[in-house]
């Protein structure tokens, strides 16, 4: 019996250095995830384990570029994820503020931005398929606010909805070193590798370098972990160093 994950699961992993999560967390390597998904598909491991493995992927797409046998790795992994989480509606923006941290919108970052800038910054974590949603919805949701975003796709969608956008790389400059250097090899930046690189290379490079420096040389986990609410636990897990 074969599965879509066969060749990917058994590969020596050229994708490995490209994956921002795998750099610090071995189960996050695309082929490691695929191996568990494969065993799950074959009934060799419990489905919940396969689901947990799938959550490690941040869907940044870097592995696709690296794959030596041109497997659609992100697509393969993504196919499994909707079984775990299916966003049904746009979540509300947490807090009342004129600026909203998107993608990096977990409370910690929003609070850090707010503390450093002296301005009110709320947080908002988009669902997985938010780019496919009617942009007017975002216009209403972000009415009168500035969005702080990391990703080219996010920025495009928000701009399409008339939302004023600030790059996360620029926003990070507001943050004190202490507030973003956790001392743990936790958050990753895919800004230098993912779609942002192609759409807006300069902010992507600045973002990657900033995060790299701030982490004390550690590679960080992906800001787009937060793209889907269900992946927040993965980020938290990485932050906890587990």
């Amino acid at each position: 019996m074969s599965t879509p994950y066969d060749t990917c699961a058994l590969c020596p992993r050229l994708c490995r250095h490209a994956c921002p999560v795998a750099t610090v967390w071995e189960p996050g390597a695309p082929s490691a995830i695929a191996e568990v998904l494969r065993d799950g598909a074959l009934g060799r491991v419990d489905a919940s384990l396969a689901q947990l493995a799938a959550l490690a992927c941040t869907d940044c797409g870097a592995c696709q570029e690296a794959c030596a046998i041109d497997r659609p790795v992100p697509e393969l992994l993504r196919k499994f994820v909707p079984k775990v989480e299916v966003p049904t509606q746009l979540p509300p923006i947490a807090g009342t503020a004129s600026e909203v941290a998107v993608c990096s919108g977990d409370r910690r970052w929003a609070e850090a931005f707010a503390a450093q800038t002296g301005r009110a910054v709320a947080s908002w974590t988009p669902p997985a398929n938010w780019h496919e949603t009617d942009s007017k919805t975002f216009g209403e949701l972000f009415s009168g606010r500035t969005a702080i975003v990391a990703d080219g796709e996010d920025a495009r969608a928000l701009r399409g909805a008339g939302v004023v956008v600030v790059w996360l790389g620029d926003a990070l400059g507001w943050v004190t070193e202490a507030s973003c250097s956790s001392g743990r090899p936790a958050l990753a930046c895919c800004g230098g590798r993912g779609p942002l690189r192609d759409a807006h290379p300069e902010p992507a490079a600045a973002l990657a370098q900033l995060w790299w420096a701030r982490s004390g040389g550690q590679t960080l986990a992906d800001a787009r972990c937060r793209r889907a609410l269900g992946r927040q636990d993965v980020v938290d897990q990485l932050l906890a160093g587990t």
């Binding site: 020596p12 050229l14 750099t23 610090v24 071995e26 189960p27 690296a66 040389g217 587990t242």
Partner: protein, 668 residues
Amino acid sequence: MPTSSTSTLDRRAVARDRLPGTTLDTWQGRAAEGPDRVIWPTSKGDVADALTEAATAGVSVVPWGAGSGVVGGASATSGQWTLDLKRLAGIGPLDPVRRTVEVDAGVNGQQLEDWLQARGFTLGHSPSSIGCSTVGGWAAARSAGQFSSRYGTFEDMIVWFEAVSPSLGHMRVGEGGDAPEAWAPLMIGSEGTLAVFTRFALRVWPVPEHRRLRGWQFPDVQSALNAMRLLMDGETWPAVVRLYDPVDTRIGGKTRPKSDHRPWFRDWLDSLRSMPGVSGRALSLPLALPGLVNHVFDRLASGVLLIVGWEGGREVTDALADAGEAILREGGTDLGEEPGQRWFASRHNVSYKLMPIFADGGFADTMEVATTWAGMEPLWRAVRAAVRRDVVVMCHMSHVYPEGGCLYFSFAGRGDRKVWERVWRRALDAVAQSGATTSHHHGIGRLKASSATAEAGIAREGWRQLKRILDPGGLLNPGVLDADHPPHPPADAPPSDAGWTAFAPGQGRWPWADVGLVPPWRRAPWMTSALRVSGPGFLVGRAPRSASGPDLRDWAANHLPVARIEQSAPPDGDGVMARLAGDKPWAIARAVLHADFRPGALGVDAGQLAVGFRGPAADALMSALLRRFPGERVPWRTYPWPWRDLVPCDDEDPAAVTAWLHSVGRPR
């Protein structure tokens, strides 16, 4: 105690390295469960704590980098803890004057290289696993990269390293070290059995400003090997020398870059499909009939492809390449730049493209062995003959040295683990009977432990003695390297320092006591590295690199009752020499080396630096040298290599002088 996990997901992720036998197991539903615990140290203190706790808990420890090994050296199972070192992830500082970089053991190889290149430097280490391996893993397995004939293999790149052992705790070996430097060749390549690497200082090079890379066709393997040997004998220092055997020339040699979206595997299938009797069949047929396929390929074979390249500073690169290409034209046909560029673009991809073979019910594997120039062609024939009935087999030859080189066989076949094991047994038997070395750069692991143990003979006592000093309880990676070493020696095994008095700090007899102070990179051209040990009647280090993980040759030379080093006369009669003007000879010498020149002779004559070159590129190199540095040609004279004279030199910043010393020590 550092952060750790017992979760299934974490344990599975480090259960196995990339030994194809375990991949085959995984494919067939026998996935390993992995260790009992995964630990993520973030400091050398964490490493020490983890080792202490493991000893208390009565479990052994397997160090883990990125798991790209293919010999089973990092696999772990129940009763073991895995020490995942990737959170030792600091890079820097970079010292552009000394040309060294400090780096933690857990740093991913590609990320280190990216970091260096962004600053104008390169490590020059380019194994195909660079994207999925770590610096610590490279040291553990004595890795070799695709440009090894210029930059050396990984042990040549290490200035010092830090490690933690169960008995001695933290130590530093090498420059400024507090442990005997003589331990270095035994610890590098010890595959996690003696200590856990934590940090390194590595030599770096400026990003090469110029590269010349071309393909050459030769009528057969032996004629190409002759040309390769002449390149090395002539001290032309090519960066890349890769010979594909007739089968690999038709398959691997045609590998295309990824951008073509066409794996070599497809080319292979197309080649097979075009053959009489195979047309239109699926992959399962050729894998099921390897004898036939090998026979057909042999009949179709016409010529072999040799990729040769030089890189570095433009002037020196051109001088060397001009001389080297003149040698190649003697017996080869110039195929132009395209084959070389094609190889360069896909140089990291080939090893990753074997998975469709597993997906089609087969298996694929690789075996890297080494021998002397005279032994290479016979070894190639012997291994092919040994396995051709079971697997389709091809070979390329690279990692060349003045004494010989590495043969890298690729196998593909059908069958279960029994077939896979039979292929390995037959292949390794052929290697042993040919007098070659069991392993070149993949390491020993569990896969080759028996053959490497047999090959090393009593020289393995060198590793065992250090094991008794550093890990008397057998905590680290049991079962790897030494087939006869008890997997779990009793925890109360008494430590011993017998036989190690000669290795007290500062008293090490490095490198070769009997032949004077010859720096490592200069010894090779006029000295074979085989040690003939009489009495027991075996050779240790029969090839350019030692057989079994740690380099046991120096230990054997110093400790075994009767040993001699085979020594051939240095080339002479073709040298050119000049004396360079200036009253700071060592400052000039450092500038000469930094300008990419690799003199065959160096010395101080009446307060001035004398520099000599040999081989077919000597005149061109000397002309280039004298264009940069004022001086005059003088008759050739052999100087004793000024290894010691550098240290008291006071016309330089001491740190820079030390750096220069290491520059001299650069490899081959």
